[in-house]
Amino acid sequence: MENTKAPNYRWHAIDSLQDRASQSKLWGLGVFISMTIAFALSSILLVNAMRYTETNLLMIEKQPLLISILANGILVSLYLALLASISVSRELDKGTLETLLYGPVDELTYILGGFIAHVKVFSLTLLGALIWSNLCVWLLNLSFRLDILGLLLASLFMAAELIAFGLFSAIWGGKTRNALINFILIVLFLGGVQIADFIVSGLVQIQTSTISDPLIVIRNVLASLNSTIRWISPFSQVQRAMQALINQQTGEFILNMGLMLLECALLLVGAILLLKKKGVRGVA
């Protein structure tokens, strides 16, 4: 009783898989809680900017929603990437992936289906972010500019890269615990170096009278490290893309979007090849 009008088998399987996976993400409160927390943080950042205006009587900004949308995008995409990593690891641990592979599903179909599912859920959260930002524009009389859409697009690319990394770390790690540890360690490293560089550089500038040599060495090491990893870190890439959008530097925007897309593609290909090599029984 097969429907002989079925479309291309692979794309049909990808569609079925992503539909199931995205629906299951929305059946629980997790995504919604992460959105709430992200919006709360974004609100804090935005209201702080308003407080600045109250204190200084004025504020000059191209896009006051920039930091808020960036923070929102980073939080939600990290959560979804973690979710992607956990769900793939659990499918490997439990054996449900093997059941899928009995049918018209192969490694590429499975990885792409999972990837699209999580990116689709993130897109829905972006819709929420767009509504949130429009409401803030209306409530606070902020200026609405079309570059907000560009900001959201950059967030989407960053999320895609992080989700691809989540999938890759799940296959790489195998067991859920290993996948989580890999994912968290690497994300902490990439983000942590940036933050540490920022903080230590600021400390060095402030405390010039009591500065100690070790702090300067640390500052220099962090600056060097940051200058290298900024090209592979999705957090740096999205920041630069957003800044390029604000400064209307189309080339820089496209470059960073391209970098995110390239890394995303490499990670997906890596995940597929790794899964093919290890096999479902080998990974688990």
């Binding site: 929305l26 059946w27 629980g28 409160l29 995504v31 919604f32 809680i33 959105m35 709430t36 919006f39 974004s42 609100s43 935005l46 209201v47 308003m50 205006t53 109250e54 200084n56 009587l57 004025l58 504020m59 000059i60 900004e61 191209k62 006051p64 959260t125 929420g128 949130w132 409401l135 803030c136 409530l139 606070l140 009389n141 902020l142 200026s143 790489w172 790690g173 290993n178 540890i181 890999n182 360690l185 690497i186 490293f189 010039t208 500065i211 040599d213 300067i216 500052r219 220099n220 090491v221 060097s224 490290l225 200058s227 290298t228 990893i229 604000i246 400064n247 209307q248 530097q249 080339g251």
Partner: protein, 439 residues
């Protein structure tokens, strides 16, 4: 797991090593003894600034079609770790090197510049319009003129203090008479008029190579009197020009006039408070390549990029008026001088009042004064004396509503509400139970 930890640690180690190795400079390093450096006194678009080009820098930058000074010196160069840069200890060594500066383009010497004397002078009240670079005999003359003016000012100041002392004595006596009721207030003696400060500033008579080149990239080197090339003197020189001009504003609120905010780009929006009074000072600004301009002033900078630009204000705008458009229509404002009147006594604070030339020595600043009270959105534009709108002068001004910030937090809770609805709908469609005794 151990295998993966090892892979991860290896990855981190590789990145660390690469990060430490790659940025190592391949240019000359200071020796610790006397090092060759270039010092610039360069035109920055408005006035002159100075910069050090240490041995570790192989490229420096100058503005096109304007004379800047490049001085070749020996000095002691040391590394200052706090700001991560090299500095010159001019106090210990500041030796001018004689010779001629060769400017090379396409392997051909296109210019040879001899060592010259120079002086830079400007009026402190209007540095931008009055800065002048004097060379050779003009430099000497300008310096001598300055010294003469300085001497005269010292004399005038001395005379003024004498007058002031005399006046103080006379005033005390008159005050006593006033208290006795013998004279009225308007009979009190007037203080002698304040002596205007000597506003002319001048450098010493200095030595350097005056360089004036069109836009392009060059090599420079110092040819010594014995025809040899000074070691470490070969550098790459980038000469650049501004990419355009525009209008910027320096804006301050009435209660915070000394902490202005600046806006350079028409994309920037000015957010302000309802019923606020603001002072807007327009400036002409020029657009430069961010890296070129920043490294012109600081050749050791590493943070800027060639694909970014920078707006640099160079002169206050005068003979312009401000068109302010709001809900109620358009208002035209003129530039006005203002005086900051300090409130004496325990109250502290200040009032900003219109400048009165009869009672005040000089205005504190000149600006447009606007009060934002009727609209939520304004548009401001600068017009010249012919009524033409100056390109790049438009800005949007928005009044933010700070009473509604709590609603922003409320909006953030919406996803949770939607989630609870989704979970409720799901629970309606499925049963989450443990089935026992069936199948």
């Amino acid at each position: 797991m151990f295998k993966h930890k090892t892979h991860f640690c290896s990855l981190v180690l590789i990145i660390l090593l690469l990060s430490l190795i790659i940025p190592v400079s391949v240019t000359a390093q200071p020796t610790g003894d006397l090092d060759f450096v270039y010092g610039t006194n360069h035109y920055n678009g408005a006035t002159y600034s100075s910069a050090l080009v240490p041995p570790t820098v192989d490229t420096f930058y100058l503005l096109a079609d304007k004379t800047s000074i490049v001085a070749a010196k020996f000095t002691q160069v040391y590394y200052w770790p706090i700001t991560n840069e090299y500095k010159a200890d001019w106090d210990s060594a500041n030796i001018i090197i004689d010779g001629s500066l060769e400017i090379v383009k396409g392997n051909k010497v296109i210019q040879t510049v001899d060592l010259s004397e120079y002086v830079i002078q400007f009026d402190g009240n209007n540095k931008i319009d009055t800065t002048v670079l004097y060379l050779d005999s003009d430099a000497k003359a300008a310096r001598e003129n300055y010294e003469t003016l300085q001497a005269k000012y010292r004399d005038d100041l001395s005379a003024y203090y004498n007058l002031l002392n005399e006046y103080t004595a006379i005033f005390q006596a008159a005050l006593a008479e006033l208290q006795r009721g013998n004279i009225t207030e308007d009979q009190l003696p007037q203080a002698p008029p304040a002596l205007a400060d000597l506003s002319l500033f001048s450098t010493e008579l200095l030595y350097g190579f005056p360089v004036n080149l069109p836009v392009g990239e060059y090599e420079i080197r110092l040819r010594l009197p014995d025809e040899s090339i000074q070691p470490d003197s070969q550098k790459h020189l980038v000469v650049f020009d501004s990419l355009g001009e525009g209008i910027g504003y320096s804006i301050s609120g009435e209660e915070r006039w000394n902490l202005p905010e600046n806006t350079s780009s028409i994309n920037e929006v000015i957010y302000s408070l309802k019923d606020g009074t603001y002072f807007i000072q327009p400036v002409y600004q020029k657009l430069y390549n961010e890296r070129y301009y920043t490294r012109m002033n600081n050749p050791q900078d590493t943070t800027t990029r060639t694909d970014r630009t920078l707006w640099v204000p160079f002169r206050s705008a005068e003979d312009v008026n401000l068109s302010v458009t709001g809900q109620e229509g358009t208002t035209e404002l003129d530039l006005q001088p203002f005086y900051v009147h300090q409130i004496l006594g325990s109250k502290l604070g200040y009032n900003i009042i219109p400048f009165d030339p009869e009672s005040m020595s000089q205005p504190s600043f000149t600006a447009f004064k606007i009060k934002l009270e009727n609209s939520l959105v304004y548009s401001i534009k600068l017009k010249d004396k012919n009524g033409e709108i100056l390109i790049g002068s438009a800005r949007e001004v928005r009044i933010i509503n700070t009473n509604r910030t709590w609603l922003v937090y409320l909006v953030s809770a919406f996803p949770l509400i939607i989630g609870m609805v989704a979970v409720f709908m799901r629970r309606k469609n499925v049963r989450d139970i443990k089935v026992v005794g069936a199948g």
